[in-house]
Amino acid sequence: MTGVFLTILKRDLLLTIRQSTDVALVMAFFVVAAALFPFGVGPGPETLGRIAPGIVWVLALLAVMLSLDRLFQQDWEDGALELITLTPAPLPILVLGKAAAHWIGTGLPLIALAPLLGIMLNLTETAYPILIAGLALGTPSLSLIGAVGAALTLGARRAGLLMALLVLPLYIPVLIFGVTAVDAAVAGFSVRPHFLYLGAILLASLALAPLAAAAAIRNAVE
């Protein structure tokens, strides 16, 4: 079982590396969109610093969402997805492998760029470790929940828009606990409960999202 998980993870990572402009574009969006906020709300360091964690998290959600079509869309279009469903390997494990590759190709670079956004937006110094840790705990859930949305919208017209409507509401809990963890740290409270919630969301999506996405894929290839 770990064998097929690693097989599909390796293949998707290889594809991500060979088509790295896809990743670069999403990361460029992440940075450029953040650069808009000083123009929109004014360059006052205090205002920006106050809303910085929220901006970073919202943009991380949007960046993940923009890259979700990479998960299944290509495989669906060229016929590979139906062949993948025809292998004897359990489909939820394969979905998990694809979601893991998606996280490495999207979540990790986002985490690496987050400090840069923090500097641009005058984030308080004490907030950095919590923001990074929160993203590390929260972005895998975004990839997993996103996989369900991506699988459900396979073959739909305007799939990207439909996917956003499906997935963004489900991202709200991750957003809430990611941001409140940073706020708690800045205000001197314990971040533990917020991280526990993020961890619980991750465990729940690890258990449920691959099953739901696999069912949606079987439906899409029929």
Binding site: G79, E82, I84, L86, P88, E222
Partner: protein, 213 residues
């Protein structure tokens, strides 16, 4: 005893019945050519046999056991080659075949598969720059790395040159000699010695109603 049998298979696609009351019984070594006009349900039947589509009625059995009882085991028996080649433009021919070999095939058969369709020289070429006939050959080479008993081929000869088609015919013959089953939908005459023929027009849903009237 027949290995793969279909009983009263009926297939409905988008509320339109495609074929109805289709019966067959194939023993080891059988090749069956599916014929019929466009839209007669050749591709749909192959997808039903692969387990991609659930038949609206009827059942499909392997050695007398309905495949619904163990879908995973059925997937391990079937190689499906559809219209799409499922090649990744960014991966080389060898990487692509290795992926299918690792995912439920035989990882040590990749070289044999490359040789089988004379792809050894193209092994390290990215799929993006292959010609359509070469892509077809890579897609067919997957049959060798998967090495499963049932081959379902949808228009396998499209884009193939004469030499490649002969190679495919040899491979099919060898596969049947080992007790494999081949079902192929094709408009091009393809050499399948003593193949059965399933004319999809015989199972058109309107025909039954016509007879009853």
């Amino acid at each position: 005893m027949s290995e793969l049998t279909g009983q009263d298979l009926t297939c409905i696609r988008g509320e339109r019945p495609v074929f109805a009351r289709l019966n067959f019984a194939w023993t080891a070594g059988t090749a069956c050519q599916l014929t019929g006009p466009n839209g007669a349900g050749k591709s749909s039947l192959l997808r039903v046999l692969a387990g991609l589509i659930q038949p609206a009625a009827g059942s499909l059995s392997w050695h007398g056991t309905p495949i619904d009882e163990d879908r995973e085991a059925h997937r391990a028996r079937v190689s499906y080659c559809g219209h799409q080649e499922a090649l990744k433009s960014a991966l080389t021919v060898r990487e692509g075949l290795q992926f299918w070999a690792d995912l439920g095939g035989l990882p040590n058969r990749v070289d044999a598969a490359l040789e089988g369709f004379e792809l050894t020289g193209l092994a390290d070429t990215p799929a993006r720059i292959l010609s359509s006939g070469q892509k077809r050959r890579v897609a067919l080479a997957r049959l060798i790395v998967e090495s499963r008993p049932i081959w379902l081929l949808d228009e396998p000869t499209v884009g193939l040159d004469k030499a490649s088609q002969e190679r495919l015919e040899h491979l099919i013959a060898a596969h049947r000699a080992e007790g494999g089953i081949v079902a192929a939908a094709t408009h091009v005459p393809i050499a399948l010695p003593d193949a059965k023929n399933l004319d999809m027009a015989d199972f058109a849903p309107g025909r039954l109603r016509g007879q009853a009237a």
